[in-house]
């Protein structure tokens, strides 16, 4: 068992740079999830750690040993692939034993390790079957078993659950988490699914365009997103963004509607006077209040009742009840997640207030976080 050090890793295909210097320090036994939209370079990064992709620049160290030039098998790691990549002509037992056979372990040692892994994964009744006779979840377990038997320093997962149906995905997610906990093996997990990312990770790496935008615990990423990209990517429905201004004193925040929002308790250090900002509010942090306390007014356009919650999609109104254009994911539409017992009809005007500490202020030019109030 060991940590993984990724230092300033760069990947270039010819003239195209796809990874622009990513650094992640993975502690021993930590579960790190790399999440991002497709094409952000997360799989490439993982494959560089695995040794399937050459490292253009920077360093990857496993257990304190730089492995840039080592073959995958010499890196003491194991990988679960997206489509499992089980050997179709081999039985479950042989699939798990193959790597050990090549490593030259004795027959008894192989049997012992495979049996142990099979017990752990409840695969014992299937050891003689071929992969095609197994269900998706079972194949997934075999792929895990193939990793476990090698007793590696780290597990690498490349979107392992994306081929499963929704229900099984939840179940396998739990199993992976439990397994990793009980083995205490370091894990690097790539996914584009934010629920998987939030639930599995000890720490989350949010990647975009070949850059790690934020590396932090899931709750910190959720509560204090470092950039507008992270804020918009993590959370469902996505965060609402509205244009606003930071006052010259570095404290006052005004919506472009003219409505003043709450002021920051302390001026932002080095704020450099008045500047345009992006204000972010998560739909779940909006609460229905009386008109006097309202910070935002929404006119409901579409109401989705989900049972536990009611999702309201509406447009932002200024004090004269005119529609204010905002730059959110859905164009002008903002979303609010209200409790399920609130009755809202389309066309209703809703006075809303943002929860304490849930108002995120981002620099509009750089997209970086300035403050949360």
């Amino acid at each position: 068992m060991a940590g993984i050090g990724i230092r300033d890793v760069v990947k270039r295909y010819g003239d195209t740079k796809v990874i622009h210097g990513v650094s992640i320090d993975v502690a021993d036994g930590e579960f790190i999830v790399i999440v991002g939209p497709s094409g952000c370079g997360k799989s490439t990064l993982l494959r560089m750690v695995a040794g399937l992709e050459e490292i253009t620049g920077g360093e990857v160290a496993i257990d304190g040993r730089v492995v840039n030039r080592l073959e995958p098998k010499d890196r003491n790691i194991a990988m679960v692939f997206q489509n499992y990549a089980l050997y179709p002509h081999m039985s479950v037992y042989d699939n798990m034993a193959y790597g050990l056979k090549i490593a030259g372990l004795s027959k008894d040692a192989i049997r012992e390790r495979v049996d142990k892994a099979a017990r752990m994964l409840q695969l014992e009744p299937y050891l003689d079957r071929k992969p095609r006779q197994l269900s998706g979840g079972q194949r997934q377990r075999v792929a895990m078993g193939r990793c476990i038997v090698r007793e590696p320093a780290a597990f690498l997962f490349d979107e392992p659950l994306s081929n499963l149906d929704a229900k099984l995905r939840v179940q396998m997610r739990l199993e992976i988490k439990q397994l990793q906990r009980s083995l205490g093996t370091t894990a690097l997990y790539v996914t584009h699914d934010q629920v998987e990312a939030m639930t599995l990770a000890d720490r989350l790496v949010v990647m975009n365009g070949g850059v790690a935008e934020q590396i932090d615990t899931p709750m910190n990423v959720y509560l204090h997103p470092a950039t507008t990209f992270v804020a918009g990517f993590i959370g469902s429905p996505a965060m609402n963004f509205m244009p606003g201004r930071l006052g010259g004193d570095g404290r006052a925040i005004t919506l472009d509607t003219g409505a003043p929002l709450r002021a920051l308790p302390e001026p932002i250090v080095g704020h450099g006077g008045e500047k345009p900002v992006t204000i972010g509010v998560r739909p779940e942090h909006l609460a229905l209040v009386g008109q006097p306390e309202a910070e935002l007014t929404l006119r409901a356009r579409v109401v989705e009742t989900l049972g536990a919650d009611t999702l309201v999609h509406g447009v932002l109104l200024d004090k004269d009840a005119a529609i204010v254009p905002v730059a959110g994911e859905g164009g002008e539409v903002l979303a609010a997640r209200l409790p399920g017992n609130v009755t809202v009809r389309e066309g209703d005007t809703l006075p809303l207030r943002v929860a304490e500490g849930a108002l995120h202020v981002f620099d509009r030019e750089t997209g970086r976080r300035l403050a949360d109030v």
């Binding site: 089980l86 179709p88 090549i102």
Partner: protein, 282 residues
């Protein structure tokens, strides 16, 4: 078809049976002719039912052959043909498997050129390059040997192509998984790629075995020694005996015998082939 009209069912069967009859009738005639003595066949009326000379005709052929055509025993000819077809089929498969592996899985200089050169050989079958190939084989002292009979026929673009197409459908992740498991290229090839190609190998074996079995021109050129006569050559030699009536009963018996090994190969391999088609793996 969900249609269920008795008339159509009958018609379908009549058409199918007619087709079967057209294909099988010559084979039947050959077999029947091989069971009669020579005079019956020369009388002008071809018999339609087997005669009484089955055992004599065949045992004479297998042990002594036909004196007028060199007297090579047909058993030896069958053996020669079988060895030649087997060597050509296995040789082709071995060479094609490995060359397709090189082309698909390795990035080496002039890879595409190598591929196109292999492709070009499709346009150069033995019949086209027969003189230069004969010259080479003769200079290498391979006349009158199994090596001379088979090696020039082994290089095969068709099979290489087929295997290349198959390898391209094998997911890359399988190769990567093997690499993670510590398998080198040759281990990956033997442990994973070859077992996965099993059904393709069976199909190509059938085709290439028949190709090898039916060779006529090339064996005729490179063998002069009677002990290397193949069955296809043998039949022709029997028909073209000089100064005598062709021994049709023996010719037909030889033809019938020549038919059996290819039929056996097709029957045996077809099972594997169909099994492979039913159990799709990957």
């Amino acid at each position: 078809m969900v249609e269920n009209r008795p008339f159509l069912t009958v018609l379908r069967h009549v058409v199918l049976l007619a087709g079967v009859a057209i294909v099988l009738f010559p084979v039947w005639v050959a077999f029947v002719a091989s069971t009669h003595p020579q005079p019956t066949l020369l009388s002008g009326v071809a018999p339609l039912w087997p005669g009484d000379r089955l055992v004599e005709n065949y045992s004479q052929l297998l042990s002594a052959g036909m004196a007028q055509a060199g007297g090579t025993p047909v058993g030896l000819m069958l053996f020669n043909s079988f060895v030649m077809a087997l060597l050509i089929a296995t040789g082709k498969i071995a060479v094609s498997l490995i060359s397709a592996f090189a082309i698909v899985y390795f990035r080496f200089p002039f890879r595409m050129i190598a591929f196109w050169i292999i492709f070009l050989t499709l346009m150069l079958p033995v019949e086209v390059r027969i003189l230069p190939t004969f010259e080479v084989v003769a200079d290498l002292g391979m006349l009158n040997s199994y090596a001379g009979l088979t090696i020039p026929l082994i290089a095969s673009a068709t099979a290489t192509f087929l295997f290349r197409q198959f390898y391209l459908t094998v997911p890359d992740q399988l190769a990567e998984a093997a690499r993670m498991d510590g398998a080198g290229p040759m281990r990956f090839f033997f442990d994973i790629l070859v077992p996965l190609s099993r059904t393709n190998i069976a199909a190509i074996f059938v085709i290439m075995f028949l190709f090898g079995w039916n060779q006529y021109l090339w064996p005729l050129l490179v063998t002069t020694d009677e002990s290397f006569t193949t069955i296809v050559m043998g039949i022709y030699r029997m028909v073209n005996v000089s100064d005598e009536q062709p021994q049709w009963h023996l010719v037909m018996a030889t033809a019938t015998l020549a038919l059996l090994p290819p039929v056996a190969v097709v029957l045996v391999m077809q099972r594997l082939f169909v099994k492979g088609l039913v159990e799709t793996e990957k």
